[in-house]
Amino acid sequence: MNPADLRYDKEHEWVRVEGDSAVIGISDFAQDQLGEVVYVDLPSVGDVLAVGETFGEIESVKSVSELFAPVSGTVVEVNDELDSAPESINSDAYGAGWMVKIKLADPAELDGLMSSVEYDAFVANEA
């Protein structure tokens, strides 16, 4: 249901590992819960993410949620398209809705994340 090549955390973020980097976004379940996304407040290139700490905020019409770092690292790329098209997160959470790409600080942290099968089960329990 959720892409098998990604890893997921309890805060509904996904991680796509690309060598020693990782691309981060929020899951389809998360975008559905939020409703229409109108704004995302993301970090800048060079900012350092610490696992479990907030790295930004995502706003829908009448709510705001924090974004929690699923793994630690340094931001190397930010999806600037989200400035003008935040709704990509709703329409394509795993593709065009990607948020930041970071250089992993500690690849071992990936072991703490869930596989897609585990995440599907996790979501089924939450709902």
Partner: protein, 432 residues
Amino acid sequence: MLRAVGVADIDELFESVPAAVRLGRPLDLPDGLSEMETASSLRALADANTPATRLVSFAGAGCYDHYIPAIVDHVVRRPEFFTAYTPYQPEASQGTLQNIYEFQTMICELTGMDVANASMYDGATAFVEAALMASRITKRHKVVVVGSVHPEWRVVLRTYAASGNIEVVTCPVEDGVINPATAAMLVDDSTAALLVSSPNFVGHLEDLAALGEVAHAAGALFVVSVNPILSGVLEPPSSFGADIVVGEGQPLGNPMSLGGPGLGFFACRQAHLRQLPGRIVGRTVDVDGRGAFVLTMQTREQHIRREKATSNICSNHALNALAAAVYLSAVGVAGLESVGRACVAKAHYLREALLATGKFDAPYSAPFANEFALRYTGDAAAMHAEMVRRGFLAGVDLGAIDPGMDGLVLFAVTEKRTKAEMDSLAKEVASL
């Protein structure tokens, strides 16, 4: 009404309250008054004050006797506006939202800024909210306020600073204005904003171009407070790089009312929209494509963002804002310019007339607009009291507000003051 809800008397409504916590005796209140008796009683209370209609007022210092066209009251007193509270299902009050939207638009036009909020309580709190907003945007905690800002506004700023969120540094006043070089020594890379008002408390125009550069050179925001009644004759603060513009809107269609309620206006550049405090009305289309007004950008507010909200304000001064909007519509662009010209011209005339009496000295020579301070050669408080007896509010005795300004009297002249009134004031003062 008691019969309609099925009880015999009012005590029956409280039967579910345990006897142990009930008062057990009638409330010690006088008998009710009829409408006629109440009106008479209130009139007697009101008569204890002397209204501006019975005193020729030359008093300003933030609250001015400007003319309010009849149409303002005619619109404002409509019960739909006059008694309505802040709507909490705002989309159901399209008329209310529309008039706030129009007010916001007018404030943007007057200040040259991109976006304005639905209004705040008064100029002083709007001024402080600008300081807090600049701190959030720059992530710096020091603000430099110029000492020529209204002393009461600076007290309000200190009240908020006591919370520990911001540190306030005051730039000293030199000859009634701020020297940009002095400000530059205080504004550094830990400064969130340079806070200025022009005209300042004693009526002088500050060097906004230079002060704006001082702020931006240090990466600080430039916050300017203005008197909107002069928007037709003074360059808007946007011309000098203002990032946030605030002020007291009372001069626009609102009576003095013994000092309040006031009308704080707040506007900023588009880039800072997400840090704007207060309510904002937006314009959109509904599902059927029809135009509609809504409260927008609500994720800044505390009912969504809680302790991370841009402010704890969840209201505005809608009725005062409506009065201002109706006033501006009534006078129009040309009318506002003409009001401003009259205020400035008359103030300059009066200053000369008062100096000619020989009872005043001129402590300052800086350019001013509608307000100026002179030093009275005798006892300012006694002069003021005697002039009230003679039917004049002869300015504001600044010594009563700020001991450091003892002997200074601040005169404001609005478009309402006639040449005859000004000549009379001068003649009476001369005869003391």
